[in-house]
């Protein structure tokens, strides 16, 4: 998408009368900055393995009224047991299909921004942060007051649909008050043929708050999904993230978790499955700013055909962050000789009394294990499937909610059936 085209869409955005003018200066400033830097190219260090041509070549237009569902849509096919759902369809919030548990405030992203007096988060770590601020037009915000334990998980179901090239820019805020707790699920689905979603999620965890964040990226394999997650953790808070990705042509997950209060814990996990020409990319930064925090990054990718993937994990331990305990692990399984994985776990340590471990392995299925299983009578396909399943089990077991784990495990098994016969 060339820059002039972004300008046309931006002008349309600024002319929409239902948007608060309060955010206009913020949009404008971000857009001007975006125009200066443009879409990253492979010459950028953080983007050198990420081919963004599907975004830079296509002409996307903003989703508008005509892209809302024409009639009632059936979401039963996306059913996950035992949760509350908020439905967002091509960027449009569908209130009739949505439900929210008591004790939780649901605001549109813009309502949330208006409510906040000042200092709302507008990071500029990448051009996609800027692009999100410039175009933010959907997504919802969840505010949980202090001491509220939300029992039922809340799911945001993002459906992308249609034959036109749409750009959707969700902005999600999750604010957990002191000692509150929530399980938040983002599920990205849909069969749209050309779709560019640039999503930003801002998470603030009060003291002793707990957020379990699960992201399921299963939208069609022709779409581009960029997600920018920014987490701020206060003392003794706990953030657990798990992404399961089997969809999208280009998937790029950026997470920056800042541990700002002592005793905070952050566990970031991901399982990616790719085939054909998919590219799934994970860039994770865990930033220890204060003492006595713990963190882990644990990512696995299974790659089939000529798909590719990236794990770029950074753990930063600042000078004051003594007694940090952190681990980083990245393991990748190549099911095809043409698949390509780039793994780059990095530690940046400025404190001297810390415990940090990291490791990375990439390889094909273990031939000794395969022979062992076959020598017990399992045919080669079952044996391979069992090994891939075993590879993923460690991560799948980390999903605490039964309904979600069952759902993801089922999707995993379907992928396995379709991809282990190659």
């Amino acid at each position: 998408m060339n820059i002039a085209r972004f300008q046309t869409e931006f002008d349309k955005m600024m002319n929409r009368d239902y948007f608060s003018e309060k955010v206009h200066p913020m949009r404008q400033e971000a857009f001007i900055k975006f125009l200066k830097v443009g879409i990253p190219t492979k010459k950028w260090e953080d983007w050198r393995h990420t081919n963004l041509s599907s975004i830079s070549k296509e002409s996307f237009r903003l989703s508008d009224g005509q892209d809302a569902p024409k009639s009632d849509i059936d979401i039963s096919q996306y059913n996950i047991n035992d949760l509350e759902t908020v439905v967002i369809y091509n960027g449009h919030y569908l209130e009739a299909l949505s439900s929210i548990p008591a004790g939780v405030q649901l605001l549109s992203g813009l309502e949330y921004l208006e409510k906040k007096d000042s200092g709302f988060n507008s990071p500029e770590h990448s051009p996609f942060d800027l692009l999100n601020t410039a175009f933010m037009d959907s997504g919802m915000s969840i505010v949980v007051d202090q001491n509220v334990i939300v029992e039922k998980p809340i799911r945001m179901l993002f459906i992308s649909s249609g034959l036109e090239s749409l750009m959707v820019t969700p902005r999600v805020h999750i604010d957990l008050g002191e000692s509150s707790s929530l399980t938040f699920i983002e599920q990205h689905v849909g069969e749209s043929t050309s779709f560019f979603q640039n999503e930003s999620v801002f998470i603030t965890l009060g003291q002793n708050a707990q957020l379990n964040h699960i992201r399921i990226q299963s939208n069609s394999v022709t779409t581009a999904n960029i997600v920018n997650i920014q987490v701020e953790q206060n003392a003794d808070s706990q953030y657990t993230f798990f992404q399961f990705a089997d969809g999208s042509q280009l998937g790029r997950l950026n997470i920056r978790a800042e541990l700002k209060g002592e005793g905070a814990n952050c566990a970031i996990n991901g399982l990616a499955l790719s085939n054909n020409s998919q590219h799934l990319d994970n860039h994770i930064i865990t930033d220890h700013q204060v003492p006595n925090c713990t963190s882990s990054q644990n990512f696995k990718t299974v790659l089939q055909d000529h798909s590719s993937g990236v794990f770029n994990g950074r753990t930063i331990v600042r000078k004051d962050a003594q007694k940090t305990d952190s681990t980083q692990s990245n393991k990748n399984l190549l099911l095809s000789k043409s698949a390509l994985m780039n793994s780059n776990p990095q530690l940046e340590i400025y404190a001297d009394d810390v415990k940090c471990a990291h490791g990375s392995t990439t390889g094909a299925l273990d031939t000794d294990a395969l022979f062992y299983l076959r020598s017990r009578g399992l045919n080669i396909l079952s044996a391979k499937a069992l090994l891939v399943r075993g590879f993923a089990t460690e991560l799948l077991d980390k999903i605490k909610h039964d309904g979600i784990r069952d759902f993801i495990t089922e999707r995993f098994d379907i992928w396995l059936t379709e991809n282990s016969t190659k």
Binding site: A369, L373, S375, R376, L378, L387
Partner: protein, 246 residues
């Protein structure tokens, strides 16, 4: 049961087996003894179908059929089993799940109905007792965190569960303390009957004190240089292998 005829095999261009002839009848237990590098493990790998070896001459017949072109799973389903010298650790694969899948593959092949979870549990609990294993092993990943002895007992557990007609015990005594060795030997001895054959591959005669072979063969440099009864094992214990080397 098993007939090996003039078997020549090489790996990476190096000839390891140089004309092996061996015939095992139903109910017989044969031991193959030899030093490291004599070709013992190559022989057991080739019988079970591990890839990577080139068979330049000879044949292996199992129950009258040439098996050289058979996949490892076909050999297993037809009744060949090997207790591995180094059982493989398979993270994330639950021992129960694996054993049940293997048993049901075998039942399916034999035209029997698969066992359900309850039926399998009942069966496996009996087998566990025979090798003195705690049921908690079933909940672990295959061989993960198992001691050397536990791994070998797990191999025998698999043998008792899958009920092969030919069991190859590849260096089953290595890594076993005397108590574990006795338990393993007892499991094997109980499993012996007139329908089942064993090929015991070993370096030392230690195991053969507890599992008495009918025949002992000495393998040196890819050839069987001497065959005899169980007393041959004792002779080897006393004299070593060098008197048989040319």
């Amino acid at each position: 049961m098993l007939e090996i005829k003039n078997l020549h095999a090489s790996i990476d261009g190096k000839e390891i087996l140089k004309g092996i002839n061996l015939s095992l009848n139903s109910g017989e237990m044969h031991a193959i003894m030899g030093r490291n590098g004599s070709g013992k493990s190559t022989l057991s790998n080739i019988i079970t179908g591990r890839e990577g070896y080139i068979i330049s001459q000879g044949d292996i017949l199992f129950k009258g059929n040439s098996i050289l072109d058979w996949s490892p799973e076909k050999r297993a389903l037809t009744g060949i089993f090997m207790s591995f010298q180094y059982p493989v650790v398979i993270p994330g694969v639950n021992n129960t799940y694996f054993l049940k899948a293997a048993l049901n593959a075998k039942r399916k092949n034999a035209g029997e109905k698969p066992l359900d979870a309850a039926g399998f549990l009942k069966l496996i609990k009996e087998k566990l007792k025979e090798v003195d294993m705690d049921p908690k092993y079933l909940q672990r990943a295959v061989n993960e965190g198992f001691s050397g002895g536990e791994k070998k007992r797990n191999e025998i557990l698999q043998m008792l569960t899958l009920e092969p007609s030919l069991a190859i015990l590849d260096e089953t005594d290595s890594g076993l303390d005397i108590d574990a060795l006795k338990i393993v030997a007892e499991g094997v001895n109980k499993y012996r009957n007139s329908e089942r054959s064993f090929l015991v591959i070993t370096h030392y005669q230690r195991l053969l004190k507890y599992i008495e072979p009918d025949f002992v063969h000495v393998l040196i440099d890819g050839k069987i240089v001497k065959s005899g009864g169980k007393e041959l094992a004792l002779e080897l214990e006393e004299k070593g292998y060098s008197w048989l080397e040319s």
